[in-house]
């Protein structure tokens, strides 16, 4: 069987330019809609502030057993999976051991996520986490000092029904 393949390669290569034009058109429409409707409703800052205060209230009101891995989540009633997926959370604790050996203990009792440096860029790049910070003392003067840093990267998701 003899096949006529003259000029077929050129014809086939045209599919790339066709797809390129489709991508350009789709991108233009999406960009136009984005400009028309504006940015998504952003609750990251308020969410981070509320969560930081909830952590503070929980630590002050409850005795959290920091030696247990899940104690923070169960005692404060936070969903671990959601926090790990969309948030940065750091709870830093400092306290002084009084007794035989006097010493200061510093530790991160909760650390979810790693890119806490992105909190320093608040106001410079809106795509970084929106953060909130609070510090407090539990047990009066000489008690445990806590610093809570919360960052939110939380976005809504579109799902197929």
């Amino acid at each position: 069987m003899i096949l006529n393949r003259r000029a077929e390669t050129g014809n086939q290569v045209m599919v790339f330019s066709f797809l390129f034009f489709l991508v350009i058109i789709a991108g233009s429409i999406a960009l136009g809609l984005g400009l028309f409707f504006g940015e998504p409703y952003d609750v990251r800052q308020s969410e981070a502030q509320v969560l930081a205060l909830q952590i503070k209230d929980c630590v002050l009101d409850h005795e959290v057993d920091w030696s247990r891995d899940d104690a923070f989540f169960t005692t404060c009633r936070f969903d671990r999976a959601v926090l790990e997926e969309d948030f940065l959370v750091k709870v830093h604790r400092e306290f002084v051991i009084v007794g035989g050996t006097l010493g200061k203990v510093e530790e991160d009792v909760v650390r979810i996520g790693s890119n806490f440096e992105s909190c320093d860029f608040v106001g410079k790049n809106e795509h970084f986490a929106q953060c909130a910070q609070t510090s407090f003392v539990k047990g009066g003067s000489g008690g445990e000092e806590f610093e809570v840093l919360v960052g939110s990267l939380h976005q809504a998701r579109r799902k197929r029904v």
Binding site: R5, R6, F18, I29, V50, R77, V82, F87
Partner: protein, 135 residues
């Protein structure tokens, strides 16, 4: 006249037309959803509801005005207004669907279970979303 290879060229054109048809269908669906404003309202409502759930304690009953959401859903021919909100207890998400198509979901941090219903015309003719927060 040499007509060898014409079948191959026709097949190419059919592939182009199919690709174009798929593209137009996808863009049409996407534009229809955007045009109604449903996606923007879904985004707004699910985030506000998630904030309310985050601040709630087990035993609380929350009543939220969702009248605009029901109006948008009605305009977009959603058949059952009770279905415009959905709480996924597995993933801890509240979802909104104000048009036929995809839904928008947003997770809440508070580890609680939420039972929900929409009371139509419950408060001065406004539609209200009632949330019962439990453990």
């Amino acid at each position: 006249m040499n007509r060898k290879g014409v079948g191959g060229i026709m097949a190419d054109q059919v592939i182009y037309l199919l690709l174009l048809a798929v593209f137009v269908a996808l863009m049409w669906g996407f534009l229809r959803q955007q045009q109604s404003g449903a996606v923007v309202w879904e985004d707004y409502y699910v985030k506000e509801i998630a904030q309310a759930v985050n601040a709630a304690e087990p035993g609380d009953v929350l009543r939220l005005d969702v009248h605009t959401a029901t109006e948008v859903a009605q305009k977009n021919h959603v058949p059952d207004l009770q279905q415009i909100f959905f709480f996924d207890q597995e993933t801890q998400e509240v979802c909104g669907q104000f048009s036929l198509g995809d839904r928008t979901c947003f997770a809440y941090v508070n580890d609680v279970k939420v039972a929900w219903r929409i009371d139509l015309g419950a408060r001065s003719g406004k539609n209200v979303l009632v949330l019962e927060v439990g453990v």
